[in-house]
């Protein structure tokens, strides 16, 4: 058997499928090397380890993503626990010397908490980065206030040198490009980003980063249950390749917030009614506003008269922004602000130090939240002796702080007798061991109310259900807890879940679709072959020619391809000879073959032509016998390339010979 190739050129019709590309090595350090359709998403959480054990979100967030050849830095946070170099991410991982600009396409900041934006001026001004920095409008407004406060404490109070200056913060903020919710921003021709609402704090956003058909969603910190001033995080079914989610509460399912609120209000109400004073130590931004709204509306509803004070400082400026960015708050505040902006507090007034000694009931919000210094500590010292009073700790307290001690039921406190110099509005300030101690008896009631604004385990799962990612990546949490959530995610959604350690890189291979232009005529022709009902769910095979030219892919009909390429059409035919032992004459053999094929190949058109050939579809069969051996017939089969399947089937069939019981007709 021989195959005879009659023609030379072969126009191979190809089946269009989504081409699978293969993983290439991550190319973070060399941006130019990244190819056109490299589809690995490269992530690393910048160096050194988490502060574990504290269990709080004080770690610094900084994630580098490489997607479709673009390098993006997500958040640029600092660590509150260190006072040395370790407080900032190690940018030398990206480049040993020189500026970062050429290695990063953009920087995205999710919200204004310092563990997400604290290192920003350091990175942009001191290490050097001139590219765009993206953040939402409220974040852009509030972020510099916090940075400036942070700088003041570090430099002015603690006297550190080699720190960023006010001017640097200003310069840094000039590089910021504001984002609107759901607005798609084109960073460059290929890279686009889009912000989603995240709850958590004012202006917090989740970001979708997209290059071509590959995408990553970074959540930052988010909250899936609405509170008194912010709504719940929301994202559409964007099906990213990776969802990078925080997992602070990976192993917690929280109770309904209504119970917490009710308890809080009841406690405050009862204390005020019996003439006691309530102290609520808070962080200046975020929870404080929620509690303010809660108390303000309660006062309004219940027609209460006792004064509520808020210790001044940062807060006034911040409240101003809360008033401005009404669109970022929850439904109630958004709907009623025309009548009255909820942040224009009627009952909450600015606090003055002298008020603490006023008789009668009052409620005071004072910073800092952990009761380690400043105004909250001063007031606490004044009020601690009276059992009518109450202190409500609305957040977590780090070990060693007074807040932590009293929460654990300590009734006698040893205090350093330091005449507090600071006016203490800052969170960052930490109490230092003093010299002279004095003991304080704690008689007031101590209550703990958790008002955290992170998604709990159920919330995280809910977000995954909303976004339907293909892979999951957990950050911003403790390894042990993440392990549990990881198992759950893999089990419930059957997707891969990663939890990289600091400095570790995770690579995910994606399956990007390659867009191909198809000619309309070809599409219509192929459509006409299908049934009446278009079925989008089923992939369909079609014939055409793929032309790759000038960085574009087109699918056209073979004829057009030939025309465009200026080539002649050639046909490829296979011919094969089969020898057969048959005593009949040639025409008889042919008719026997005809009968045989007819019985075997039902449903095919088989013709016995008068010129001595049998045609099966387009396959031609001829019979000839050699002169020497009349019983040995030679069958000549010839088929075109398209009928290869049928052709080879026939040749095998005929090789087996004809069955004996065949009549020659």
């Amino acid at each position: 058997m021989a195959r005879e190739v009659r023609c030379k050129t072969v126009e191979e019709p190809s089946r269009v499928a989504l081409a699978k590309t293969h993983a290439a090595t991550p190319s973070f350090k060399n941006k130019t090397a990244s190819g056109s359709h490299l589809s690995n998403v490269h992530l690393c959480i910048s160096s050194s380890c988490f502060l574990s054990g504290a269990g709080q979100d004080v770690g610094r967030s900084c994630i580098l993503v490489s997607i479709g050849g673009k390098n993006i830095m997500l958040d640029c946070g600092m660590h509150m626990g260190f006072n040395d170099d370790r407080r900032f991410p190690d940018f030398s991982y990206i480049t040993q010397q020189g500026r970062l600009t050429e290695f990063l396409d953009c920087v995205i900041i999710s919200h204004f908490h310092l563990d997400h934006c604290g290192a920003l001026p350091y990175m942009s001004e001191m290490v050097g980065y001139d590219g765009p920095i993206y953040m939402t409008h409220p974040t852009k407004a509030i972020c510099p206030i916090l940075l400036e406060d942070f700088r003041k404490i570090t430099v002015d109070k603690k006297g550190e040198t080699n720190f960023f200056t006010s001017q640097m913060i200003k310069d840094c903020m000039k590089k910021v490009v504001p984002l609107n919710l759901h607005q798609t921003v084109q960073v460059d021709d290929e890279l686009e980003i889009k912000a989603y609402y995240a709850g958590h704090v004012l202006g917090a956003a989740m970001v979708q980063i997209k290059v071509g058909s590959e995408s990553v969603v970074y959540t930052g910190d988010y909250n899936m249950t609405p509170d008194r001033h912010l709504g719940a995080a929301w994202i559409d079914k964007c099906r990213p390749d990776i969802l990078i989610s925080e997992s602070t509460y990976a192993t917690t399912i929280r109770d309904s917030k209504r119970c917490r609120e009710r308890d809080f209000l009841k406690k405050v109400h009862e204390t005020v009614e019996r003439g006691g004073k309530v102290l609520i130590p808070v962080f200046a931004l975020g929870r404080a506003q929620e509690l303010c709204i809660l108390l303000e509306t309660f006062w309004e509803r219940m027609n209460m008269k006792a004064p509520i004070y808020f210790s001044t400082g940062l807060t006034e400026k911040a409240n101003h922004y809360y008033k401005l960015f009404i669109t970022w708050t929850n439904q109630k505040i958004r709907k009623t602000f025309v009548q009255r902006n909820m942040f224009e507090f009627k009952h909450i007034k600015a606090f003055d130090r002298s008020y603490a000694d006023n008789p009668g009931p009052m409620v005071v919000f004072a910073t800092p939240g952990m009761l380690h210094a400043g105004q909250s500590l001063q007031i606490f010292k004044k009020w601690a002796g009276n059992e009518k009073n109450m202190i409500i700790m609305p957040g977590y307290c780090v070990q060693g702080t007074i807040g932590h001690k009293i929460l654990n039921g300590q009734k006698k406190l040893e205090m350093e007798n330091r005449q507090t110099i600071s006016n203490g509005q800052s969170e960052i300030e930490r109490c230092e061991p003093g010299c002279c101690c004095l003991s304080l008896e704690v008689k007031l009631q101590v209550e703990y109310m958790s008002f955290s604004a992170h998604a709990d385990a159920k919330g995280i799962m809910q977000l995954i259900r909303m976004a339907e990612p293909r892979n999951m990546l957990l950050v911003h949490g403790e390894a042990k807890k993440m392990e549990f959530l990881k198992d759950k995610i893999e089990q419930e959604f059957t997707i891969n879940c990663f939890m990289p350690a600091n400095g570790e890189t995770t690579t995910v291979i994606t399956n990007p679709s390659v867009p191909v232009d198809i000619s309309l005529n070809l599409l219509k022709r192929e459509m006409a072959l299908g049934g009446p009902l278009p079925d989008p769910k089923k992939p369909r095979t079609m014939h055409g020619t793929l032309i790759m030219k000038d960085n574009s892919l087109r699918l056209v009909s073979p004829e057009q391809a030939l025309k465009e390429l200026g080539l002649n059409e050639h046909q490829l035919r296979f011919t094969c000879r089969v020898q057969l032992q048959d005593p009949h004459s040639d025409p008889d053999t042919l008719s026997r073959i005809y009968t045989h094929l007819k019985s075997v190949l039902k449903g095919y058109t088989i013709q016995h032509l008068p010129d001595g050939t049998v045609m099966v579809e387009s396959i031609v069969i001829k019979v000839s016998s050699s002169a020497e051996e009349p019983n040995t017939k030679v069958l000549l089969l010839s088929w075109s390339y398209q009928d290869e399947d049928l052709g080879s089937f026939l040749s095998t069939l005929l090789k087996k010979g004809l069955p004996s019981g065949l009549s020659s007709m």
Binding site: T225, P226, R228, G231, A232, W234, I235, D236, K237, T251, T252, I253, R254, D255, S256, K257, R258, C259, R260, E261, R262, D263, L265, K266, K267, H269, T297, E300, R301, M302, N303, N330, Q331, K332, M393, L407, N408, G409, Q445, V446, E447, Y448, A457, K458, M461, Q462, R465, M466, K481, F484, L485, D487, K488, E492, P532, L533, P534, D535, P536, K537
Partner: protein, 956 residues
Amino acid sequence: SYNTSKPLPQEEAPAKKLRLTKPSKSAALHIDLCKASNPTDALQYLLHFARSSVEAESVEGVVRILLEHYYKEQDNSVRLKIASLIGLLSKTQNFNPESILDDTLNTFNTEKSHQVLAQLLDTLLVIGTQLPESLIVRHRLIEVAYKHLSDTYFGVRNKCLQLLGCLGNVDTPLNKDGQGLVPAVIGDAQSLISDYFADQDPRVRTAAIKAMLQLHERGLKIQQTIYDQACQLLCDDYEQVRSAAVQMVWVLSQLYPESIVPIPSSNEQVRLVDDSFGKISHMVSDGSWVVRVQAAKTLGNMLQVSPHFLEQTLDKKLMSDLRRKRTAHERAKELYASGEFSSGRKWADDAPKEKVDTSAVNLIASGACGAFVHGLEDEMYEVRIAAVDALSALAQSSASFAEKCLDFLVDMFNDEIEEVRLQSIHVLRQISTNITLREDQLDTVLAVLEDSSRDIREALHELLCFTNVSTKECIQLALLELLKNLTKYPTDRNSVWKCLKFLGCRHPTLVLPLVPELLSTHPYFHTPEPDMDDPAYIAVLVLVFNAAQSCPTMTALFSDHTFRHYTYLRDSLSHLVPPLRLPGRTQAPGVSGIEGSGSVESAQLFLQQSLSRISTIHNLQDPGAQDLLNFTIRDLQRLGELQTELAGAADFSATYLRCQLLLTKALQEKLWTMAVPLCLKHNAMATAAAKQMLEETYKLEFLYSGLENRQVATIHHVRLQAKALQLVLTARTRRGVEPLISVCEKFLQEVESFQRLFVVELPHLQESFVGKLLDLSPKLSACKPGELVKILQTTLRQSGFLNLQLPKQVQRASATIIEPTGESDNPLRFTSGLVVALDIDATLEHVQDPHNTVKVQVLYPDGQSHVIQPKPGDFRSPGPHRHRLITQVYLSHSAWTEACQIEVRLLLAYSSSRLCKAVWSDSSTEGLQPAEGATEGTIPFGKPVKVFIMPKPARR
């Protein structure tokens, strides 16, 4: 008429078309369309044409002209407009759209544009829905729909599905062979539609589901086989599809609640209704709030769900750091059970206890888990309200669920949106028959009593009226909080008292041990007598007396002054203090008649007796009749005050009798025997009586609800009497005949319309004034004014007394202005010429349709008055037959030298024409349009309130 409509195509017009061509519209349109040089012009003409109306006779002609242009027109938008116009025209009243069906169907043969096709299908839909009976038409339309189902444009597919949904065969296909008119495929619209559940366009998917729902609504039994498909659609990418799918799943769950469906990836099976309940519960945490609202609402309609699944909706397993945690609700319950309820909670007493088995924790809410917990916490208040409503519906059908959802509802009392708070209070009231509040729950409920919103407080009082509590401490707690409420908001007085009345009634045994403490009696010492005017003391007494009603031993604990106070309160606040059987005490003699037994039945009896006593009067001129009337009116008035249930009926009768009394008095005046010139002075009294009678009749007719035709006839009869009296008086005072003629004519017209309106009632009116008048009626219309007056005068005197038949239930409309109270001495100051807003808060009872009838009148000291119509949104309906008006009226006046009082009152506007239509449209045989003699006016009701205002001169 043919000539004027010349443009009609003669060559192709068969004769019957000519009949239709009323020249005007169609011709003008045709000319316009011919004139139009470009599509924009044509479109303008069509738009213009669409604004005018077309008579039923000329519709067919117009459609033909439109179609003619349709075929000529190249531009898609013009053709589209024409298609939509045809749809509009087919809706013309009295027009049978079947006549244009063929022509419309023909257009499909040539149409190429998808948009126009969609519009044409829409037109078919309009035509088809107007001819629901014609099976042939429906089949033809469905055929068209089927043909275009595979169109590539989503709009066309949409409309086709809509057509199938609205017109598809609902009955099982009769001829299964697919013979004749009904091809098999048309018979089975269901499977055809379900094919499009998987369409690539979300809009088509939505349309397919909606079409299926439409079929269901039209009575088709949807097959269970599509359940799986519908469930898959719940995960669709598009919210409108998911929302519709929720409905679809619900419909199926109602059709096949007991079918068994397998749970995927396990061998277990569940009832279909439970399965779908789980799936819809899942949707409560959907990404789109529209779907969440839909899902939450739907849950409320799934009453057949198994209790096991139902209770899961309130379940949310808490954990902290992988340790199981109890919810605050569970902790509260335990604390309560351990008797440590009041102790303050400490940090970490919610500390997690046992370790959680990690594999057992189900993070993603599978099934119904925690659906309501999520729904009630939702960001959008629409979802929360829907969830509260659903809870209510489910709790009403299941007592155990009601018990469980109590905590959650109570939590909702703290919601940030008042509407939600209010709704949850209402819901708790609705389910309160099923539950008993625990002390800690009651504590939370009572905390809301301090709310500054009156709505909320009143709703809460209402709730407390229906609440069952378990211990005497609860009663004490409730009383304490209510008294606190009373001191904080003194205006709540009545509401609080009422609340305590019911609280006492419901829990006599719980109140009993509290009595000594409540009344501060002491076994040895006399305690000072409390102040009888103290609202708080009255509140306590109301509670105790109502409890004592069913607890006879309680009275033994009363001290002397308590009995005295009882007598006083029984008289002054009879609606709050029940009659008590007091040992050794006799009732005051004056009131023994009715009050003795105090029951409604005896009062009813008394009412009947009084009325039947009156009925012994045959003629009002009888001696003694006046006295009898006088006494009866007095009795009835007193009865009305004592027995609130009968107040309406008693007032109604009294007013009626007063009218009769007035008439009698007027007729007995000496003036009738006097010479005309001398009687001017006496005349004044009779005229006033006539006028008052007239006013009273309007009150009778419009202020009372529950009147039947019979009573209305009686009222109208009195009105005729009053008018006759007026007429007679006019005749005696006025000189000249001219004005009299028109007055007489008017009167006769009224008699006539009375006759027409009350044909049914006439037999009962034989002996009455009208009856006698009608006997003379042929003569009346012919006679001169002078004669008529004479006839009227004698008939008035001779006619018998018309007995009043009371209907079953008569209620008097009443209004109370709560705000402003009229007690303030501080004038409302404002700059003259500018406006000041005055807040008005009033409750209305038994007012029908207050949005249209109730108005606010402001009377200034100078006699100026303004009538203000409140906005419909200012009315709320807190209970049956009850409305609350909370509005603002704007005052303004020129400057005054000192503060002065203005009067604010509520008016009930009436219009006889409106009511006539409403009452008699069903009883009358022919379509009565009582346009003639429609009187409009207003009746002041409720006490007016005085407000101090002080417009200051503007400072320059």
